[in-house]
């Protein structure tokens, strides 16, 4: 009896291995989580200095339309109104999502419902390729093709929200499409069978059963596309013109949070208002992507409950 107890109390090599594996994965997890929180803390603490150290009011920052960091208004207030960039970011995101969603849905329906064979064999690889193209390439194409094209048709410089929207449309199309494809493929076959067996046409089945059953996933796909559009910096910066003005037309130069950040981050001195206000822009970006993230999780949960 005593011997058996001793035997089980002894640490076997298997148990050691088990603990070792557990420790490694725990350390890795703690490391990642702490990095995420340090970034959040670092960015937010810098970003908040605009309001705490330099005394800019939140209203002036979020609603102000004059962006000339380093200068002050007649009343002596610093000109750091971020509204032009906030508006620019939201405009290009919403427009490109509006444009990309019908195309992404159409392509996804074709690839899953209408011609799965062609979809798997030809379209899937093409889309995966499109996802992998670096954004600077998209921006370069936008700069050499889209901007002159818009200039020819609408006049002006060609830089602006429209050019950015078109570039982002091409960039988020593959992301949204491939997620929509996964979602549609996940709709059980027996829903389609039941619908066909009741005398529904293929279109009725797609429209009234498949798309409806897949709607939470499709919404998530669109939001993922939007998140990508909102966070894209380089390609947008190359075609939007980077004028910190509230866009009053789709074809005049404008700017987004990301484009102003990439343009100016090398040109400011640490600790000055000019630098801290850029951190404030970064904070907005960070919290927006957090928001998109939470939104997709929330939709996923609601979809699962249904």
């Amino acid at each position: 009896m005593e011997e058996t107890v001793q035997h089980f109390k002894k640490r076997s090599p298997k148990r050691k291995q088990e603990r070792f594996g557990k420790t490694i994965s725990l350390v890795a997890t703690i490391f990642i989580v702490s990095i995420v929180f340090s970034i959040l803390f670092f960015v937010a603490s810098r970003g908040l200095r605009t309001f705490t150290e330099h005394g800019v009011s939140a209203i002036d920052f979020f609603a102000g339309t004059a962006w000339r960091p380093g200068e002050v208004s007649d009343a002596g207030e610093p000109l750091v109104g971020a509204f032009p960039m906030i508006a620019g970011s939201f405009l290009v995101t919403i427009f490109s999502a509006l444009l990309a969603t019908p195309f992404a849905l159409g392509a996804a329906i074709f690839m899953t419902e209408i011609s799965p064979k062609t979809g798997k064999k030809y379209l899937q690889p093409v889309i995966e390729l499109l996802v992998g193209i670096p954004s600077v390439v998209y921006g370069f194409i936008g700069l050499t093709v889209i901007v002159p094209f818009i200039r020819q048709i609408f006049g002006g410089t060609g830089f602006g929200v429209l050019a950015a929207t078109l570039v982002l449309f091409v960039m988020i199309l593959p992301t949204t499409t491939s997620m929509a494809v996964d979602t549609l493929n996940a709709v059980p076959r027996y829903y389609r069978e039941a619908s066909f067996a009741m005398g529904a046409t293929r279109w009725q089945t797609i429209y009234k059963v498949v798309l409806r059953a897949a709607s939470p996933g499709l919404l998530t796909a669109v939001i993922f596309g939007m998140a990508r559009a909102f966070g894209e910096a380089l390609a947008v910066q190359m075609v939007i013109g980077n004028a910190a003005l509230v866009p009053d037309s789709l074809t005049t130069p404008a700017s987004t949070l990301t484009s102003i950040l990439t343009m100016n981050m090398g040109n400011t001195v640490l600790g000055t208002l000019e630098n801290d206000v850029l951190w404030s822009l970064a904070t907005i970006l960070l919290f927006m992507s957090l928001f998109f993230n939470i939104l997709t999780r929330w939709i996923g949960k609601k979809g699962a409950m249904k």
Partner: protein, 252 residues
């Protein structure tokens, strides 16, 4: 004498090179329940799905022979499968209601057929749910998601969904194999009620079920129709030795 509604003549079905049905000829009559029995993989479900052309959805299927319904071969070139499936409804093995409300499930067939009149739809939904013997259980929660019901209730909603489009023939592919005995019993009693109005063809693995509810029974084996006759005859005095072996459990 009951009227002949559906018949097949020398039907062969191939999945690629594999011959799943080897020349089946039989008839189905109005106001009767015909049961298709046989071991797994004998082709009875394939045969059932051939009648409303559900096998069309599977790539690589080839079919020869005739399936006659309403004086026409349903495999003729010009057949509208959409119209055909409205007349020959189907209930599947796994209850498969759509992830919508109970009401929308039953109204689905009516809406895709273009019916707009809300009162008429309401009326048909209620009538169908009553016929499927589930009205009393769901009448207060028609707006709730059908997936929240029990398996047996879901299957009866699926039957109501088929009844709503008023088919002539109802095909049931092992409709109770995923259900408990009490739910199965409810569905069996309902089917005996329904046969007064419809032609019913049911695939079942449960031989007691076949003997309880069907008027005629067909025994399938390896893609062949071995024997089809009155259920009483099949279960008491079958002609073929294979049938007797299967019925008495001496098979395989």
């Amino acid at each position: 004498m009951n009227e002949q509604i559906v018949s097949t003549e020398n039907v062969h079905l191939y999945y690629g090179d594999f011959e799943a049905l080897k020349g089946i000829s039989m008839e189905f009559y109005d106001n009767q329940i015909t049961a298709l029995i046989g071991p797994s993989g004998c082709g009875k479900s394939t045969y059932l799905r051939l009648i409303n052309r559900m096998n069309d959805l599977i790539p690589g299927v080839k079919i020869t022979g005739k399936v006659n319904y309403d004086g026409k071969n349903v495999y003729d070139e010009g057949t509208d499968t959409v119209e055909l499936r409205k007349k020959i409804g189907m209930v599947f093995q796994q209850p498969n209601p759509f992830p919508f409300s109970i009401y929308e499930n039953v109204a689905y067939g009516l809406k895709i057929a273009g019916m707009k009149d809300k009162n008429k739809i309401d009326e048909i939904v209620e009538r169908s749910l009553r016929k499927a013997a589930i009205w009393n259980e769901v009448k207060d929660k028609l707006d709730e998601n059908a997936l929240a019901l029990s398996g047996g209730q879901q299957q009866r909603v699926c039957i109501a969904r088929v009844l709503a489009i008023e088919p002539d023939v109802i095909l049931l592919d092992e409709p109770t194999s995923a259900l408990d005995p009490i739910s199965s019993g409810k569905i069996e009693r309902m089917l005996e009620e329904l046969k007064k109005e419809y032609t019913i063809i049911i695939v079942t693995h449960n031989m007691q079920q076949a003997s309880r509810i069907s008027d005629r029974t067909a025994f399938f084996l390896d893609g062949n129709l071995i024997e089809v006759d009155d259920t009483r005859k099949i279960f008491t005095n079958p002609e073929k030795k294979e049938t007797e072996d299967y019925i008495s459990g001496r098979f395989g």
